[in-house]
Symmetry: C2
Subunit: 370 residues, 2 copies
DNA sequence: TTGTACGCGTTATCAT
DNA sequence: ATGATAACGCGTACAA
């Protein structure tokens, strides 16, 4: 232990500078900047910038000094300032309507996850109705996002504005007419066909359909698919009754079908799971129909929650995980390629969830096997 | 109609400048800036800035000229550049874990809506498990958000880091121990007490509880509330059996309770709706118990989807809409007040959904009436 | 490898 | 009411 005053070490100098700098920051009420870090580390500001850029050419000693100073100051690079110069915000706009976020909560979570692993964050825009997209477009331009994933129908003009601004766009689970635009979707028409095929293959001949209310484009595509396929197979036309997408509609729909038909149908297709549950309960407990032996009940489209609230309904589900992954991939490559990426549609087949409420023929459709 | 060459009008000049500017933008591959607008409108750049600032002092003619030029150029102010100088990004970080986004999808949608009407957008961060929050904190600092709403438990150090960075924080639906931090939550203990009170008041004496798996802090608080209240009322201790939060657990749990008790209990409390549905189906269809006359079945906590997949279970629901509104309000005022806002807890009472699976005493609890 | 100097697009301050 | 000028915090040519 020497008693003499030790000469100022590098650490000592840095520590003094750090304290001085911290005091100044508080006094002037400023944020910590790369310039402050440079001051404390005794290097230039651009050196600090390089140290935070992965793959930059920096000597180990420089890196160590800068990182020490940065840690001491709690320095984090400012993403806003960076995006100003790089023209990349690393943010992606995701537009959802209120309802679809309720019915398909896993879609957003999965989009967020997939985008995060590609270094992008989700800037969320929600609208009450799908038609309200126009209201958020202005905000989207303003926030300088690198691209957008939109789960709502877009008008021709709206798509055009994305092109004009050269903003990568992926439309999620909606059809866009008369325009070539990148999109990810699930083939609803095929969903209907598939179900009809599998049920017909198992010997069902007379079908009943509890449809949803008019206005749902996706739902009516599914119904058309089923009806077309039944006709192709030479089976009798199904009895179609309307429903309100609620539990009660399922039971009353079934009774109505039986009334019209004069007998119990071989199979009932319900527009969603809620109606399928209602139909199922009425059939089993009120009408004492042996499901699935005397009658099959299937839902056209399952929301994810149906699997945990499950009563084991046979149903078709949109492969949201794959769709989210595809959307993230598609958008990312559009962003990376700076617009040279041509519009691309990725269409997914629905996923059959074989519950215990229907008899199905074994798999023959090659698409399903894929 | 004069045949002579007309002198250049203001509109003519502006149109020419617009065309010239547009060409330059494409040639130099630049973005449209306020400077371009100024050039076309023939005014200064700061004038353009003022025209886009609500409540600034600008003459009508100036406003008109600038807006015309801006529209012609598709100009939108750049939020990143603005936030650099104003130190306001108008973005709020929302951190969710994957699971809660599935069970309470309406929470995020409502948060987004409420924040939007206050001029803030949601920058979404999702984590697989609640313990992974640490991973996204770095990103939160980087993106210069104005505040954060976090639906995950935070450690003492993590809360401290928010304070150090003076970043407004609201913890959503989680308890934070040993720290005064603003939070919005639903009183789980009271949820349990309330249910016990209302059922006891209707004459139920012997209770059974199908609990969830260990590890859910919220669920065990609810159970404790129910048990404490039953003891206070001098009723026999409930039979508690474990469950896995799935449909099957409800039925097997009920059978186990009956086995232990040697008779059918007066009321069964299930840890969530899925188990309540399972319990209900087993009771009604397999054991032929008259619900609710011979036995009441209630769920402790309902997720929103239970209402559409509803089998009309009597249950308690967390008032997510109110909670989201409160969180948005709380965070906004913390942001506006620049940190002078003291930490504040907002605790909500659970909301009783009176289905048809239980007999309940009339309302006496003053809190419920509120 | 490191430092200098400039620009990204805006708002804010201060004259006029 | 309007215009000149200085920040905001960073990335990146370019020179050394």
């Amino acid at each position: 232990m020497r008693k003499t005053r030790t000469p100022p070490t590098d650490e000592g100098v840095a520590a003094a500078r750090l304290a001085h700098c911290k005091a100044a920051l508080v006094r002037e009420n400023r944020r910590v900047t790369s310039y402050d870090v440079a001051l404390v580390a005794g290097v230039s500001q651009s050196a600090v910038s390089r140290c935070f850029k992965p793959g930059a050419s920096v000597s180990p000693s420089m890196h160590a000094r800068v990182m020490a100073a940065a840690t001491g100051l709690d320095y984090i690079p400012n993403a806003a300032a960076r995006s100003l110069i790089t023209r990349r915000s690393n943010m992606v706009a995701v537009v959802l309507c209120h309802v679809s976020s309720l019915y398909h909560p896993e879609a957003l979570a999965e989009l967020s996850r997939q985008l995060a692993r590609r270094g992008k964050r989700v800037l969320l825009f929600t609208v009450q109705h799908e038609a309200d997209v126009e209201q958020v477009l202005g905000d989207i331009w303003e926030y300088q996002v690198d691209g957008a994933i939109i789960a709502a129908p877009l008008s021709n003009e709206q798509v055009q504005e994305f092109e004009r601004r050269r903003l990568p766009l992926v439309v999620f689970n909606r059809n866009v007419r008369d325009r070539t635009v990148s999109s990810v979707l699930c083939d609803q028409y095929e969903t209907g066909r598939l179900l009809a095929t599998r049920l017909a293959g198992a010997g069902h001949r007379q079908f009943g359909i509890v449809a949803g209310p008019e206005g749902s484009a996706l739902a009516s595509e599914r119904r058309a698919g089923a009806c077309d396929r039944l006709q192709e197979l030479g089976l009798p036309a199904p009895v179609v009754v309307p429903g309100q997408f609620d539990y009660a509609s399922g039971g009353s729909g079934l009774r109505e079908i039986i009334g019209t038909l004069g007998r119990v149908p071989d199979a009932v297709l319900c527009g969603n799971d809620v109606m399928a549950l209602g139909c199922l309960d009425t059939a089993r407990h009120a009408l004492r129909i042996d499901v699935p032996r005397a009658m099959s009940v299937v839902a056209f489209d399952a929301v994810e929650p149906a699997s945990w609230l499950s009563c084991d309904v046979t149903t078709l589900r949109q492969p949201m995980h794959n769709m989210a992954l595809a959307a993230a991939d598609l958008l990312t490559s559009m962003i990376e390629s700076q617009g040279s990426h041509l519009p691309e549609k990725r269409v997914f087949a629905p996923q059959l969830v074989e519950g215990s409420t229907a008899r199905l023929a074994p798999i023959r459709d090659t698409w399903l096997a894929a």
